[in-house]
């Protein structure tokens, strides 16, 4: 099989080609590794990769297949966000403070993918500790957007999004605390799923904000994303927040999902107000019309507390981060700064080990939790979070899902928002509320602005209804070809 054919196949396509003997896992890994060598220097989307180890795994997979092993995802390479522990591989969270740390165990999602036969080819760049919306805060330097190398790929999972978009592997794992799967997916023209909180185990994922973090997949198509999701979802005794709710994934049926008859889609008025760029508005409304043409009933709905989401999120997430990141003390793992006393060592380790954005958030979190401010900030924000959650509960009484923009604009230029953190935070306006409410959402490519940059359609569903939003996304992708367009770099 020709290399160029392999890159076009996607996760399912490679699985089918392997099953019918049209290619081998070794051929697939060789092709993707070659592509990484060619394209990665332009992107900086990876923090680490090991072609030799992947080739050994590929040969083992081919041998197993010859012996009758028919696991569908056997021998397919993936990229993994550098936030998830893969036994024997480094795991840095894009931070100097984890320099030298090698994962001694597999995260649950990794153990499940390993069981399914997936090969872990590369680790993808991320904003440091997943804190950011541009992948500019990584200690490895910024990742570039394959659609325009002067632009950011979004973040924090910008490495996964850029790499999948450029075809460095057919799918990747990412994580989403305030939009970190959906926003980079939208900026890079790929499909990304943020599952319901509690749907996917966080065991072995470097913690940022534990009540908001959720791991999810990225791929070219809804079907590919659903395939990876089907492997990683489900209850895990290592993570008490995972739910025993039936995962109910029927990705096979997604291939037949041709229309949206009988589906009620809500259009939140607040998502189309001031701040939304005319280009993204137009692309989103065009996508709404596609859904209407597919038979969906479109209704306007209100999410009155939406505008408070950013403030609420940027109180709660840093508060949780300040507690979670207390463990990086120069003792247990990674990097240690100098110091004659224990305190001096702690303070120097954390000063030298953390980048500015992480420090900013730790300080914000420390402040909002400190004596005298806790009630005014943290407890108040927890109550606002409840109101945001209630908004969604109310609209899902009359709607099956919501649709709208993922981001207010398409990808911005590298450095454009780096000096103004609040401006960067405001870009999360359409994504953070989904995390605060603990529900699920999908981003699917829905076209390009006049500059040729992709935009994403946000499909938001109630808790545990991933199958529903994947079905809506699949129907949309059957009617459109935006997800099939490759960036010029590829």
């Amino acid at each position: 099989m020709q290399e160029n054919d392999i890159f076009q196949l996607g996760f399912h396509g490679i699985s089918d080609a392997l099953a019918r003997g049209a290619t081998t896992s070794e051929e697939v890994v060789v092709a993707f590794a070659k592509r990484i060598r060619e394209i990665e220097p332009k992107l900086n989307s990876l923090t680490w990769w090991d072609e030799d180890a992947a080739l050994l795994d590929a040969r083992a997979a081919d041998a197993a297949r010859r012996n009758g092993d028919a696991r569908p995802w056997l021998g397919i390479p993936m990229g993994i966000k550098d936030l998830l522990n893969v036994k024997g591989q480094p795991c840095t969270a894009g931070s100097r403070i984890l320099r030298g740390y090698k994962a001694p165990y597999d995260a649950t999602v990794i153990a499940r993918l390993r069981e399914a036969g997936v090969i872990f080819l590369a680790r993808t760049n991320t904003d440091e500790f997943a804190m950011g919306g541009s992948t500019e805060t990584s200690a490895y330097g910024p990742t570039r957007n394959p659609w325009n190398l002067q632009c950011v790929p979004g973040g924090s999972s910008g490495g996964s999004a850029a790499a999948v978009s450029a075809g460095l592997f057919p799918a990747a794992l990412a994580s989403d605390t305030g939009g970190s799967i959906r926003q980079p997916a939208a900026f890079c023209g790929v499909t990304g799923l943020k599952p319901t909180y509690g749907r996917v185990s966080r065991y072995g994922c470097v913690a940022f904000a534990s009540s908001l973090d959720q791991i999810g997949p990225m791929g070219q198509t809804v079907e590919d994303v659903a395939a990876v999701y089907g492997v990683i979802a489900g209850v895990d005794p290592h993570d008490s927040t995972t739910s025993a709710h039936d995962v109910d994934i029927r990705w096979e049926s997604l291939r037949d999902k041709q229309d949206l008859r009988g589906i009620r889609l809500g259009l939140p008025d607040e998502y189309f107000e001031e701040g939304l760029s005319p280009e993204v508005r137009k692309l989103t409304l065009d996508a709404v019309e596609v859904c209407r043409d597919l038979g969906a009933e479109i209704q306007h709905v209100k999410l009155p507390h939406s505008k408070y989401g950013i403030a609420c999120y940027y109180i709660l997430a840093p508060a949780e981060a300040s507690a979670n990141l207390a463990r990086y003390d120069g003792v247990r793992y990674g990097f240690r700064g100098h110091g004659d006393s224990l305190l001096e060592m702690y303070e120097n380790t954390r000063n030298e080990g953390f980048g500015t954005e992480v420090k900013r958030r730790i300080l914000l979190g420390t402040h909002v939790l400190s004596s005298g401010f806790h009630d005014a900030y943290y407890r108040h924000a927890q109550k606002v979070r409840h109101l945001i959650r209630q908004d969604f509960t109310r609209v899902f009484e009359t709607c099956d899902a919501l649709i709208g923009p993922v981001t207010p604009t398409t990808a911005f230029r590298i450095g454009e928002k780096a000096q103004t953190p609040l401006q960067m935070y405001l870009g999360d306006i359409f994504t953070v509320n989904v995390n605060l409410a603990g529900i699920c959402a999908l981003s699917v490519p829905c076209g390009f602005d006049p500059a040729g940059l992709p935009s994403g359609l946000h499909i938001i569903g109630p808790a545990w209804k991933e199958n529903r939003i994947l079905g809506i996304g699949a129907a949309y992708q059957h009617a459109t070809n935006w997800h099939r367009v490759s960036p010029p770099i590829a």
């Binding site: 940027y314 006393s341 914000l364 420390t366 005014a376 108040h380 924000a381 409840h386 953190p421």
Partner: protein, 98 residues
């Protein structure tokens, strides 16, 4: 609900000491106005008059229970292996007792 603070008096150096981060003077100069701007932005939550009756609970499931049984563990040797410095399966840190 009052945000009982004057953000112009925000003491970033003191907060950093609580967070065990030795910030340089340059970073204090950079972070002070940025944090003030962000904290001022949080004031918009004041517009919401929320009574004490509003719930704070989150999460999609009720409390989770499991039997109090010992599960698998990583083991001390492996856990210590990732430490910055260890000796005899113990962490090595700067001298604590004078």
């Amino acid at each position: 609900m009052e945000f009982s603070q004057d953000t112009s008096r925000l003491d970033v150096k003191y907060i950093a000491s609580l967070a065990r981060i030795a910030l340089s003077d340059e970073e204090v100069k950079l972070l002070q106005p940025q944090m003030q701007e962000i904290l001022s932005f949080f004031e918009e939550l004041k517009q919401l008059d929320i009574g004490p009756e509003e719930l704070e609970t989150t999460g999609n499931d009720a409390a989770v229970w499991r039997p109090d049984e010992k599960g698998e563990e990583l083991g001390q040797e492996i856990a210590m292996d990732v430490a910055v410095q260890n000796r005899h399966e113990q962490f090595v840190v700067p001298k604590i007792i004078e």
